[in-house]
Symmetry: C2
Subunit: 147 residues, 2 copies
Amino acid sequence: MQNSEALALTAVLLAAAGELTQRINDGVVARGFEGRPAYGFAFTRLSAGGATVTELAAHLGVTKQAASQLVDELVRKGYVERQAHPGDARARLVVLTERGWACTRAAEEAAADAVRPWVELLGESEVRALRDQLARIAPYGPIRPAW
Amino acid sequence: MQNSEALALTAVLLAAAGELTQRINDGVVARGFEGRPAYGFAFTRLSAGGATVTELAAHLGVTKQAASQLVDELVRKGYVERQAHPGDARARLVVLTERGWACTRAAEEAAADAVRPWVELLGESEVRALRDQLARIAPYGPIRPAW
DNA sequence: GCAGATGGTCAAGCAGGTTGACTATATGCT
DNA sequence: AGCATATAGTCAACCTGCTTGACCATCTGC
C-alpha cells in the first residue's frame, strides 16, 4: 500500500466519522433535545448500568476533570443524576434519568437515520462488515479523535 | 439494522480515525518535525499545487480566520510561504516550502506505518476495500470531525 | 493503623476555534 | 464607464471545552 493511500484512508475515515457525528447530533436536536455530540457517547457508556466519572473519562478519552464538567452539564439539563456508589464511598455512580433514556433513544434513532443512506448505497451486509472490520481494528480505544 | 448498531458504527469510526490520527502525528514528531494533526491534512491540500486560505478553510471545515491562523503558524515554522496569486490580486497562494515537502513525506510514511497493523490483520485488499467504501460514502466532506 | 493509591472537585490557564468589523480587489449589471 | 455587490484576507475580541496542578476524602495492602 502506497504511503499516500494511507493518508487518504485517514482523511476519509475522519470525514465519514465527522459527517455521521454531525447528522446524529442534528437529529437529536431536531427531536427536541439540546446537546452536543459528546452526550451521545457518554450515554452509550452510561446506559450499561451507569458509570463513575473516572470510567466515563476513560471512555471519552479526556481527563476526569473534563468528564466531571460534562456530568455537571448533563445533571443541569436533567439527563443524568449522581447517586451514592454502592461499596465505595469516594465514588459516585452517574446514572441516566428518564429524560436521559429518552435522549438516548433519540440518539439511536438519529444514528439509524444517519446510517440509512449508507445502507442504501452499500447494502446492509457491507455496512455491517465495515463496522465489524473497524471493530477488529480499534476495539476499545477512546471515542474522541485526537484533535 | 438496529438503532444501537448505528451508534456503535459511529463510535468505532471515531475510535479508528482518532487512533490513526494520533499515530500519524506521533510518527511525524518522531521524525523530527513539530506539528499537530491539522498540519497533515493541510499539507495534503497544499501539495496539489498550493491553495488559498479560503480553499484551505473549506477543506479543513473551519472558518477562514482559523485557516489563516494555521497558515501563520505554518509560515512561522517554515513549512509554507505565501505567494502572490496569479490572476487575483486579493488572494494569496499558500505553497509548501522544501521543508514543508519533507514534512509531508514524513506524514505519508507515518501514515503507512500506522496503517500497517491493519493491513496485517485484515489484508491489503480488505483495507483498500474499506477505504473505497468510505470514499463512496463521504466523498468530499470536510476533514474535521464536528467536535 | 499507617502509607500510598484512587475517586472526585476546585481553580486557573490555555489552545484553537468563532463572530464581527473592516480593507482591497474583483465581478456583474445598467 | 461607473456603481453595487460579492469575495479574499486580516485584525480584534471573545468563548468553549479541555488541561494542568493542588487538594480532600476514602479505600487498600502491609
